[in-house]
Structures are given as C-alpha cells and as structure tokens.
C-alpha cells in the first residue's frame, strides 16, 4: 500500500503477503532508480512463537510516496535474501538475523550488525568474523574501537598493499545502548522526547523532529504551520553549524591549520545561536512534541540576521580560499570516490548521495511541514569525491542561510495559534503504524512506530542515515592511500551511536 510521509496506517489495513510475493514486490519496487528502502524490519508476533511480521518501506522520490510492503514469516522458513538482489538491504537483513536468528539464504555477508544486547545470534563483539586474506604481500591494519581523537568508538580493519587500501571492513556496535527498547519501556512523553535528542548528539533537531511527528501523527494532532516553520529553521541551523564544523575537520585532516581554526571558530556563533534560542548549543530541549518552550520571537529573528551578517562574509572568504588552494585541492580531489552506480547499489542517502550525482533529499521528495511550501533546490555534485562532499557543505550552508531567511519571512506572516489544549502525554491511536522522514544534515532520518491495543508503543524503529552510508565510506577508500582514510572518514562524518542505537 502507498503511504506518505507522517501518515498513520491501521495495522488492520495492511495486506500481509506470502514471503514469495513480498520478495518479488520489494525486488520490483527497488529496480527503479528513484526508489530506495527507507526502513525494513521485523516485529515478533507475541502470540505465536517463531512468527514475525516483516515491514519494508520503500520511498519513491518521483511519486512522493512510500510503498509499505509486509509479510508474515516463521523463522524456520527458508527465506531467500533480498540483499543478494539489492545490496542496499544488507544492514536490515543483518539486523533481523542478529536480533531474531531469522536466516536469509544467499545474503552475501550475514554478519553481526551491532551486537545488540538482546541478540539471538552473533557471538562476541571481540570475535567479529572479519574477511581474511592469505597473502605474503598484503597486510592488515586494525584501528579502534578507541580512536586517536575525541570521537566515538568503532573498529576499522584494512587490508592494504603497501600504502594502498584494497579493502576496508567497518565493525560497529560499540555504542549500542538499547535505545529502541527504551522508547517502548519509558512511558512518559518527555522521556521519549529526551531519548530522541540522544540518538545522535550531532543531529538533535533531526531526530527530535522525527519523533515529534510520530507522536503528533499518532495522536491525530495537526501540527500548526508556525510550529513547523520554527522546527525547519532549527533543522537548517543545525545543518549550518555541523557543516561548518565539518569543514574545519576536513581542513585538520589535510593539515590546513588556517581553515581548521577559522571554520572552527565560525562554528561557535552558529551553535551559540542555538544556545540563545533554547539554552543548549546542540538544541537539546528545543523540539518537543505538541509544544515548544522556546517560541521563535521577532528578537530571535533579528538576532539570527545579525549573527549571519557577521558570519557569512568570513565564512565565504575562508571557503573561497580553501577551495582555491592547490595544497588543499590536491588532497581532496579524486580522493575517496563513490561512483553514482555504487551509490545507487548500496542505497546511499543524503549529502554523500547528492555528492555522487544522486538526488536524494527528503525535503524535496517527501516534504513535511514547512518544506511543503518553501521553494528550494537541493544541491547536487557529480564527482563523488572528498572535494564534492566538502564543496557540498559549503554550498548547502549558503542554501540553508537563504532557506532560513525565507522561513523567517514566512513565520512572520503566519498567525500563531493557541496550542495550550494539545496533549501533554503520549496519546496514540491503537494498533497503528506511523512513519516519519526528516532530512537531517547528514541525510534521511526515518522513525517508525507501531502501537498495541492500548495505543502504547509495541515497537519503535530508528534509522539514522549512517545505517546506509557506512558502506559508502568502506567503498570510497578502496584504492586510496591509507593516509587518506581520515579525510575520507571526515567527509562522510557518520554517526556511530546513530547506527548502533
């Protein structure tokens, strides 16, 4: 069945196909370049041992809708792997295998995904089955889980020929906190909102907005336009702040000290703006379902303009210099390439997809709230290298500045409505499924909730864009010198905890 972003579906209305039919439907849907899987997961059926419902959500960017395909299976069934046809599904089948011991026959690498605490399969995190190579000439390099800098943990295992990377395998799961289960266990709305802000600390607005939409749509609450505009302003401001910080990081990794220091200090007023708005540099506490504690006032609008007036000339000056310096360009051009073909195959989303010529931006393809009315064109680059992903950030920052300007103008014209009678607690329609897509700075975020007979959460699924994109990094570094790994890594800047949940 076709659904749209932020729609709620009654479970009774979902058609459950046989796995064979489900398989061919998913297979066919994913054969189109404009379609990609936004989530695919299993839900145990509590009354029947070994039985699971599968839900696969395939977004079609051309039709602006999402195909919801479902099936009921038993874990003793012989299920043909869909990943064998569409690599983009690899993490989803691996997750189901790890959590429930569902076997997908023919999956090219049915390895543990994140070593969830409640896994039924997968062994010990210190005993991950890495690919090995038997050779006198090649060597392995292992990095992590703890890295040299102040950053989250993950393990990278390289197979190199001299300095050249032939293969990289990324082993994740170190950050697993059981956050999806906590959404179900913590019953207070405010607890869940707080959890959503802690999924990935660099994408607070992105994930908190996705959760707010889930809660609001399940309650049948129409989010007022003014509130959606304010959330969009916050989302774009988050994009500006992180992109600026990432440009600083990319400069660090090519040993360009001026760029590192200047972008680093330019990030400060961007996150301090969030501080002025809501008291947190990372916008924790800003986005709340059914309400806001921090109305975007005229004064804040003015303050934003003043901050940007100071920021923008310095930002542009620094970026123009950076993208003009041969010593920087020689490190980032043609480094860490992901071809469009590979991007399509592995289901890349967001900024790295757009840097490889693949337009994937849910603000445009599956717009919500304020993005339905505001005019903007996503930026697309074609070279797929570190340069493209760096340049993408520069241009996206400028685009987000313009976008916020338009949003502020729109906000001024929008009448504030009274929302004091909105729900204050979790109040969801029973036996339903809700889906919410949001375009964070990194790319597409997807949250899905399923409620039980009482309207309580039976399942909460979270997908950070990192889930798709980690494989992109692994492919990007092939054939590159191992010394270029840090810039490739920074150019993706993926989330560990967003993946590990």
């Amino acid at each position: 069945m076709k659904v749209t972003n932020n729609q709620v579906i009654r479970l009774a209305d979902i058609e459950f196909l046989s796995y064979d039919n489900f398989f061919s439907n998913v297979n066919e849907a994913l054969n189109h370049d404009e379609a990609h899987c936004v989530h695919y997961f299993a839900k145990p059926n509590p009354d029947r041992d070994g039985e699971f419902s599968l839900f696969c959500l395939i977004a079609n960017d051309a039709h602006h809708d999402i195909d919801l395909l479902a099936s009921v299976i038993n874990k003793r069934d012989e299920l043909q792997s869909l990943t064998a046809q569409h690599l983009c599904l690899h993490p989803f089948e691996r997750e189901m295998h790890e959590l429930y011991d569902i076997c997908f026959v023919g999956h090219p690498w049915l390895k543990p995904l994140r070593y969830s605490h409640d896994r039924k399969a997968g062994g010990d995190i210190y005993d991950y089955p890495f690919y090995e190579i038997d050779s006198e000439e090649l060597h392995r390099v292992g990095v992590g889980p703890i890295h040299a800098g102040i950053i989250e943990p993950g393990h990278f295992r390289f197979i190199c020929e001299g300095e050249k990377i032939l293969h990289l395998e990324i082993q994740l799961g170190w950050q697993h906190r059981g956050i999806e289960n906590l959404f179900v266990e913590k019953k207070k709305l405010l607890q869940r909102a707080t959890l959503s802000e802690n999924i990935a600390g660099d994408t607070v607005v992105g994930h908190a907005t996705a959760f707010a939409h889930i809660a609001e749509s399940l309650a049948g609450w129409n989010t007022p336009e003014w509130l959606e505009i304010e959330r969009a302003i916050a989302l774009e401001q988050e994009r500006i702040a992180v992109h600026t910080g990432d440009l600083s990081g990319i400069c660090t990794d090519v040993a360009y000290q001026l760029g590192n220091a200047v972008f680093g200090r330019l990030r400060t007023p961007m996150i301090n703006y969030m501080q002025k708005w809501c008291g947190s540099r990372f916008a924790k506490s800003l986005i709340r379902p059914f309400k806001t504690n921090f109305i975007f006032t005229e004064q804040l609008a003015e303050e934003w303009q003043n901050t940007i007036d100071k920021y923008k000339p310095d930002f542009v000056e620094m970026a123009e210099q950076m993208f003009d310096l041969p010593s920087v360009l020689s490190r980032i051009e043609r480094t860490g390439i992901v071809t469009k073909e590979n991007a399509l195959n592995i289901g890349l989303v967001g900024m790295p997809a757009k840097s490889s010529g693949l337009l994937r931006d849910t603000r445009k393809s599956h717009p919500w709230g304020a993005y339905k009315d505001v005019d903007f064109q996503p930026i697309v680059k074609t070279s797929g290298d570190v340069y493209a992903r760096a340049r993408m950030r520069y241009e996206e920052v400028l685009a987000s500045i313009e976008l916020i300007q338009r949003l502020i103008a729109q906000r001024k014209e929008t009448v504030m409505t009274d929302i004091s009678d909105a729900p204050r607690t979790w109040s969801a329609q029973p036996e339903s499924l809700a889906i919410s897509l949001t375009e964070g700075w990194r790319g597409e975020i997807c949250h899905v909730a399923i409620t039980d007979k009482e309207g309580e959460l039976a399942l909460y699924k979270i997908k950070d864009p990192s889930m798709h994109n980690w494989l992109g990094l692994a492919l990007a570094v092939r054939g590159n010198g191992i010394s270029d790994f840090p810039i490739c890594n920074k150019s993706f800047d993926l989330s560990y905890c967003g993946h590990d949940l």
Binding site: P153, W174, G178, T268, Q275, S280, S285, N293
Partner: protein, 252 residues
C-alpha cells in the same frame, strides 16, 4: 599568501580571556536554585522530570542525573530557576545534589583531592578521552575545549592520542556493555597515578540509559572517580573550570 593574511586579520581576538568570569551568551541553564518557602505539589514536580533527577524530603535536584531540559522550571517558575553559573563540577558525587534553599557556588572540596594529583598534574594534565556510548555531543564539547575560544592548552591541559601518554581518562557515555572492556583496557594502560573524570549526565549516572541491559555501569564500581562534570552535554566552561578546580588552579 595575502589572502591568508587577510583572513587571519579578519579573525580578531577570539579567545575568552577569563574562563572563570566570562558569561555564556543567551540562555544558559547552569546550577539550579530551588526556592525555600514556596509550596508546590512536590510529587507532581518529581513525576514531571524525565530524568528522575528530582527527589523529595528534602526537595532536591541531582545534577548527575539532570539533563538541564528546564521543564521543571517552566512548570514551576516560582519554585525552580536555573542560574547561569556553569561551575558545576565536583569531586564528590553527593555534592552534585542541590537541595531546596541552597544557593552557593559549587566548589571542589580540596581536602578530598588526592595529594599527588595537584603535585604531579598541577601545571600539566594530559588526558585521554574514551566514549562508551556517548551520543557525540559531549565528545564535541570536549573537542571544543581545545579550540581558539576556550583554548585549554594555555592551562597545560591537553587531550592526547595514547593512554600511555596520558595522566587520566575523561569518560563520556553511560558505559555501553560493548565498550566496557575497552574502556577498562584504556584505563589500565594509563600509568599510575591517574585521574578519572566523568563528563556529562550519561557518564555520571547513566542518564536515561541507567537501567538498560545494554550498559554495564558496574565497571565503575571499583575505580576512584576524581571529578564529576554535569551537563547534557557538558559545556566547555564547565569542563575547564572543573579541571582547574581539581588542580587547585582557580583564581576565585
């Protein structure tokens, strides 16, 4: 070259001259004050807090659990307010609990600081950071402590790449089960004597993850913690002042 010099010139002075007295721009929810003599429905107040940070008899807020969301102050503005005081670090866990009627600055208890810490690290402290389930925000704030604004390097405080080069560990995150052993490995690799600093709500109490079977907080049971730094995430100024306090380097 000229372009670079011009850019350099355009930066002006960015560092914060006095990290003890500077003011955080805009709203900042720092050390809270619970006003005595105002009666509220304490049970409702306790119930409202998402972090389980509020206790009754006496009414108190545990900064080691609080996420600084401000909801309690919005609901009961006449009872609870947050000051802009970012100096919230303490070396004794219980002292992070702010009771009704208290409104004094939080200061490290010098008598409880091990003597060798100030003697050996007073002028130079090298730290290794370990994230064990941290969401990335505390990590970014710890990175920011070294940027041109906060510039902790000027106090001889630095983050280093190897635990072998470090005098201690700064831990972020609730200690995920999958990272627990690696954290211990890093801690053991730091030469003695060493310090352990818990940065942020998740590290101090586990935050919302405290009861999750995916975390293993028990690894902290047998380790001496030298400094607790509240925040979600911890603000760079809370970090700098906390560490300076631990080292006995505060002017005030």
């Amino acid at each position: 070259m000229f372009e670079s010099l011009k850019i350099w010139l355009h930066q002006g002075k960015q560092y914060i001259p006095d990290v003890e007295t500077t003011e955080v721009p805009g709203i900042f929810r720092g050390r809270p004050v619970i006003k005595a003599g105002v009666s509220v429905d304490e049970k409702a107040l306790q119930e409202l807090c998402p972090m389980n940070a509020i206790d009754v008899n006496p009414l108190s807020i545990d900064l080691g659990k609080c996420s600084f969301c401000g909801e309690c102050a919005f609901a009961y503005p006449e009872k609870i307010s947050f000051t802009k005081d970012f100096k919230m670090g303490h070396n004794i866990r219980e002292r992070l609990i702010i009771k009704e009627g208290e409104d004094q600055p939080i200061r490290i208890d010098a008598d409880a600081v091990r003597k060798e810490i100030r003697r050996l690290f007073g002028r130079s402290l090298k730290l290794r950071q370990v994230s064990a389930g941290g969401d990335g925000s505390c990590e970014m704030e710890l990175n920011a402590t070294g940027n041109v604004n906060f510039d902790v390097g000027r106090f001889g405080i630095d983050f280093v790449a190897s635990p072998r080069h470090a005098d201690g560990i700064v831990l972020t995150g609730p200690v995920s089960e999958n990272m627990a052993d690696s954290f211990l490995d890093a801690y053991d690799a730091v030469p003695d004597p060493k310090v352990l600093i818990l940065a942020g709500t998740d590290a101090i109490s586990g935050g919302l993850f405290a009861g999750s079977p995916a975390v293993r907080r028990s690894v902290l049971d047998d380790i001496k913690v030298d400094l607790y730094l509240p925040g979600n995430p911890v603000h760079p100024l809370t970090f700098v002042n906390g560490v300076l306090g631990l080292l006995g380097r505060m002017k005030s």
